[in-house]
């Protein structure tokens, strides 16, 4: 694997290989000294054009636990604001000797564009509303860890909320279906893309109807600007129809799992404290974030799968 740009580019084998590799990384993280020399001498640069302290720290921790050097490119103080083109910026940092870029950008497709401009490996840490492949890997790993199921066949994943603007949803729909799950999207039509008929999903506009048949309830964050944009009349109305309340938790099956990619909007999509949900995996999602990203970095830079390409 040269780059990690989108879940569907991995293929099922690639997806499973990364999840299996994550098992090793989880063990490393449990050691008293959670650090291995695997990526000594390699440099990983975080190129975050959009704030996300959580994701950036998760990647940088992962890189450090594998002994890679890390560089953080701070956009607010960079020459991008002085008129330097993105391509020039990437070329400059590449010249400093970077093996991988972790890229987060508000614009769709930037990681692909950058991959054309540098020889380094690119990891997509979120591009617009398009893809967030490491989050999907984290989520799949977390479900696997909780259920001990390597295939999601027979499982019913329900993704609730702002699908239209969600890269997490797009990556997870791909990952969940690749692993064999049935996926239902629950949202008001205004928060769904105009046409999802070609996606391997069912669509519902009524959360209460779906809850009793749900194995994994995946709640998405609703950003408050969606109200100003006219996607929902008020947050209160959204919350009443699509928020997770104590009553709705009661309607879940006993073993159903609740997930959220964070950061949570309490009082909007999460009307209750996640710790009040018996099978909430939200903390496991965060904990597994580092291990999954270690697996991705090691696969790209250390496994030797690119040796032919580098020669």
């Amino acid at each position: 694997m040269k780059h990690l740009l989108a879940i569907d580019e991995l293929g099922l084998d690639g997806l499973n290989a990364l999840l299996n590799l994550t098992d090793h990384m989880v063990e490393i993280n449990q050691r008293p000294v959670p650090k291995v020399p695997a990526l000594r001498g390699r440099t990983v640069a975080s190129l975050f054009f959009e704030d996300s302290t959580r994701t950036r720290l998760s990647f940088e921790t992962a890189a450090k636990r594998l002994s890679a050097d890390t560089m953080t490119f701070n956009v607010s103080t960079s020459s991008v604001n002085k008129g330097e083109s993105l391509r020039d910026t990437v070329a400059t940092i590449t010249d400093m000797g970077v093996d991988a870029f972790v890229v987060r950008h508000k614009s769709v497709g930037i990681p692909w564009q950058i991959s054309e401009w540098t020889k380094a490996s690119i990891i997509n840490a979120g591009d617009g509303a398009h893809q967030h492949p490491t989050q999907a890997l984290v989520d799949c790993y977390t479900i696997r860890e909780a259920t001990h199921a390597k295939s999601f066949s027979g499982m019913h994943m329900v993704i609730v909320g702002d699908i239209k603007h969600s890269r997490v949803a797009r990556s997870n729909i791909q990952a969940f279906s690749m692993l064999g799950a049935a996926v239902t999207l629950v949202a008001p039509p205004t928060l769904l893309p105009p046409d999802v008929s070609h996606w391997p999903v069912s669509v519902s506009h009524n959360l209460d109807d779906v809850l009793p048949q749900t194995d994994v309830l995946y709640m998405l964050r609703l950003q408050s600007e969606r109200m100003a944009q006219g996607h929902v009349p008020t947050l209160r109305e959204y919350s009443e129809q699509y928020g997770l309340t104590q009553k709705r938790v009661m309607n879940l099956q006993a073993q159903a799992i609740v997930m959220h990619p964070g950061p949570m909007n309490r009082g909007v999509e999460m009307q209750i404290d996640p710790s009040d949900v018996k099978n909430s995996l939200i903390h496991r999602q965060v904990a597994n974030g580092v291990a999954v990203r270690m697996a991705v970095l090691f696969d790209l830079l250390g496994s030797g799968s690119n040796l032919a390409g580098q020669a």
Binding site: L21, H24, E27, I28, V36, A38, R42, G302, G304
Partner: protein
Amino acid sequence: MAKSVVGASSHEAMTRADVKRAIVRIAHEIIERNHGVEGLAIVGLQRGGTWIAKEIAAQINDIEKSVTVPVGALDVSLHRDDIGIRPVSLGAISDIPFDLSGATVVLVDDVLFTGRTVRAAMEGLNNYGRPRAVQLAVLVDRGHRELPIRPDFVGKNLPTHIGDEVAATSDGVTVTPGSQASR
């Protein structure tokens, strides 16, 4: 590293009984060297060393009935010094569910060759604490060291050509001649 054995004439360097005897002897030597089993821990290297580690521990437990020696398994793939040079295939997951600080750790592997795996293992052990001492037990020492590493306990010293393939299982040890240039 898949290797064709067509036309190669393997020979048996140790029989099943030889292997069993060597393990029993190594168990005794470990107890003798350490004046008992106090603070002793056995760690087998994934994958070839883990079954030997378990066998040695079972022997020790059999001899010194008072205690149970803890046994762990260590995968050294991520500590190797050839990452990025050759493809890495990870072994089974490391499993050392005990603190190694202050322990006398006996690393166990099947075949000692260049010494690079053992070097990686010594580094890996440090993730689990600071052992009081680390000792090395191997079923076969086939020579050709590339690092200053010497075993404390050896089942059998086995002179080989550098390209030979040595396979060690509980059923015995076989040597398959290989090309000189393969390593």
